[in-house]
């Protein structure tokens, strides 16, 4: 690929179709006997997306490899019988309903870190947080597996006028100084080794708590904190906007 940037200035590969050979990567992944987990939240009306997401994920996400899906929902009764691929496992975890969706959004960080500590670290090597309303049309394979992985948001990539941006309110813990910032990462798809995801979610939630104490709310919620974290803890691999294309574009 010569039309796009395939390497960041800190030498992390940016994954685009055409930059990798999935057979080689599959062989490497299988050599190491790895297990990957996916964390996703279906709270309030988002229960609607569960079936579509799980059906697509079973078909397209790391097909052929063992994936543990951790589905957090306040509506476990709404989950109709989901067909899982034989190598995959589904864990349904009930969570509390919060009044504001922003609260749900940022408390995800807290939930993820707590569950990594109590459970996930014993069950998976790599963990990815994927928004339940993400649409999967193509295979997503082991090219996503690396220590700390962020996905470039398509919003920033096409530089629309109304583009999402870093938190500018300087007193926020998510604030990024003007002129700084490598890429704008989406909170809808990020992950890495279970250790690194633990560190990331802990740091982000800490930022949320501090801001709350000062009565501040970051504009793009958990995504703002994610971007701050990944600015100062550079991802080891980036996924191009091919991996999460916001339909609202």
């Amino acid at each position: 690929r010569q039309d796009v940037l395939v390497l960041t200035p800190w030498l992390a590969p940016i994954v685009w179709e055409g930059t990798f050979n999935r057979d080689i990567l599959n062989a490497q992944y299988m050599q190491k006997n790895l297990v990957t987990g996916v964390v996703t939240f279906a709270v309030k009306k988002y229960w609607f997306f569960i079936e579509g997401f799980m059906s697509a994920a079973n078909k397209y996400f790391l097909a052929g490899h063992q994936v543990n899906f951790y589905l957090f929902t306040d509506n476990p009764e709404q989950i109709s019988h989901l067909q899982m691929a034989p190598e995959n496992h589904l864990f349904v975890i009930t969570v509390q309903n919060h009044s504001q969706w922003q609260d749900i959004s940022v408390s995800r960080m807290d939930i993820i870190s707590r569950y990594i500590r109590s459970q996930f670290q014993y069950e998976v090597d790599y963990l990815y947080s994927i928004a339940i309303d993400v649409q999967l049309f193509e295979h997503i394979g082991v090219e996503i597996i690396d220590t700390l992985v962020g996905t470039i948001s398509s919003w920033q990539y096409t530089a629309r006028r109304e583009s999402k941006s870093y938190e500018t309110h300087t007193e926020s813990q998510a604030a990024i100084p003007k002129g700084e910032g490598d890429f704008y990462y989406t909170a809808s798809f990020y992950g890495g080794s279970v250790t690194e995801v633990y560190k990331l979610t802990r740091a982000c939630f800490k930022g949320v708590v501090e801001d709350r104490e000062n009565d501040i709310e970051a504009r793009w919620h958990d995504e703002s904190y994610l971007n701050k974290y990944l600015l100062y803890h550079k991802p080891t691999r980036l996924l191009s906007p091919e991996y999460y294309w916001d339909e609202e574009l």
Binding site: L7, A12, N21, L25, Q28
Partner: protein, 273 residues
Amino acid sequence: RRQDVLTVTPWLAPIVWEGTFNSEILDSAYRPLNLTIGVTAFAIGKYTRFVGHFLESAEKHFMKGYWVNYYIFTDNPETIPDVQLQPGRRFVIVPIKKYPSWQEISMRRMEAINKHIAETSHREVDYLFCLDIDMVFYNAWGPETLGDIVAAIHPGYFNVPRSQFPYERRSSSAAYIPDGEGDFYYGGAVFGGLVKKVYEFTKTCHMTILMDKANGIMAAWQEESHLNRHFLSHKPSKVLSPEYLWDDRKPKPPEIHLIRFSTVDKNYKEVRD
């Protein structure tokens, strides 16, 4: 950004060229980790004459701002010159036995490095680079080179079709690579990575070298052939462009913007004795 060369391998390992990285960003990520970088180099017999120039140039260009340990393996400690090193950098002589032929000396490096890691350097360094001594640094060699398993593309073969790579082609050798296979031709003069990983692959290479010995065969390019065989099945996590392993006898092609580490012109016949 470089569009004239391949900068990522098909297994998503970066290929390090000038223009692909920002040293400041890398330094700000690596310096706080307080890493110690080790270097092994073998100066056997007449090769001790290269030590002074190697070290002086390394002091100017290699991993500036990091803790560095140079491990010079030699059969002749008295002939090693005293080179002034900067603070945070030290120099250790590792006495070893001299083997009768240069090929044997070359191949025993894997065993010597592996043994030394187990006995000493695993406690002293985080990353280890194994370099040839008859070389000189001309430009910066920094944290862009750090990775789990690091190999360098041989300067003679980076622009050449795979069928012309001088892999070992006899199937009776443990270093055998059949036609049609192979990613790059890696040079034996530069390899490295996390000390644990270097321990693992020097052990494997030494094993395959011994297997060949038992079968009365010596690979076409000695341990370089075994290294290439190993890196085919256990791919490096980072690949260095020929900027990091150059041969001054070659004319500089347009893809090479900067030469960082290169051979010293010498009379091979005389120095291999």
